[in-house]
Amino acid sequence: MPNAKKYILTGVILGSIAAVAAGLIAATNLITAKKIKQNELDKINAGLATIYGNDAKVKDEADLENYEYSVHYYAVENSQSEFLGYAVKTSGSNMYGKISLIAGFDNATHAFMSLYMIVNEQSYATTLVEKYIEPLNKDSSKLDDVTCGATYGAKLVRDMVNDAKAAADALWSKQNG
């Protein structure tokens, strides 16, 4: 039956092309996955340096559960091993795109200091940064001034910061017994 043979041959060829393709992609994944993780780590360190100063480093860190946006926290200390505060990494999205940021809280006052954007895939990303994030980082009381050209993004950032504050407060009360 020549027809059956043709179909089998067609199927085999398509299958083998797909298999080789999957193999190539898996190989690339092996090469690049580590570098991508390293990039993320570098970004986190850069973020902590922006918030706390250049000699900030991570004392320890762990995942957070049961929070709407907060996924991870870092206990930050400086080069003299003084505890600087908690930095909480949050991740969330709205209809305009994904946002992932680190919100830094000061150990002395438990207050919000500033934030560092890791991923900003909002459609109006530059507006969000210029009109909300940059003023906020200069003056942390402007958290609720969400009406800017990218109000939805700003609202998401505000909710994430508030969620991070709840997480940080819980960590401090756990620390203090």
């Binding site: 393709a21 209809m95 994904k98 895939e121 050209g149």
Partner: protein, 197 residues
């Protein structure tokens, strides 16, 4: 919840319009037939394909690819799903409306290369949207695309008989029209700033 869903649809339909702001689906948008009826047919076919693609690709990613650890095969999978869907929709149209099939002609297989379809499917999982939000994104995008190409083909019908400078005839004047439409839609950006949800 419902309010968020509806607002999400409206935002991807009007505010962050798929063609005029996000630039998906430009090729069919510019090459769209100057007959309003066939653009309507094409737009409806795109709505079908995008909705089916969203409904198939989102669960495929979250319940098959990610648990298997091969999340990076998303692009390959999506494009194969989309290509098959377009074939199926084509057969469906051929059977139930041969006249529409004939008037769509070459534009039907071109839905596979429509950036909007893959853009929505890929964007849903890249942004980590929930299934409801992914549906809203798909619905808003596809209906927004439909509205835009119908309006645009109606304008192009008029442009055909207008007194255009010779160098601008055809595509350039169509692009300027699109620019004016894009400007108009930019004005919708402030639409929801007053709402508190």
């Amino acid at each position: 919840m419902l309010v968020t869903f509806i607002l999400a649809i409206i935002s991807s339909m009007l505010i962050d319009n798929v063609v005029l702001s996000r630039f998906y689906g430009i090729c069919p948008f510019l090459g769209v037939s100057k007959k309003v009826k066939s653009s309507l047919g094409m737009g409806i076919a795109v709505v079908f394909v995008i909705m089916l693609a969203t409904i198939i690709c989102w669960p495929l990613y979250n319940y098959v690819l990610v648990p298997a650890g091969v999340a990076y095969l998303d692009t390959v999978t999506y494009i194969l799903v989309i290509a098959s869907l377009v074939q199926l929709v084509g057969l469906f149209i051929k059977k139930y409306s041969p006249s529409l099939y004939k008037s769509l002609g070459i534009y039907l297989p071109l839905i596979t290369t429509n950036c909007a379809v893959l853009g929505v499917a890929q964007g849903n999982t890249d942004q980590g949207l929930t299934f409801l939000m992914a549906l809203a994104n798909g619905l808003g995008t596809s209906i927004g695309f439909l509205i835009i190409i119908v309006v645009f083909s109606a304008i192009r019908v008029r442009l055909e008989t207008a007194n255009t400078p010779k160098a601008f005839k055809g595509l350039p004047i169509a692009l300027i029209t699109a620019a004016i439409m894009a400007l108009a839609f930019m004005g919708l950006r402030g639409l929801f700033t007053g709402i508190n949800i």
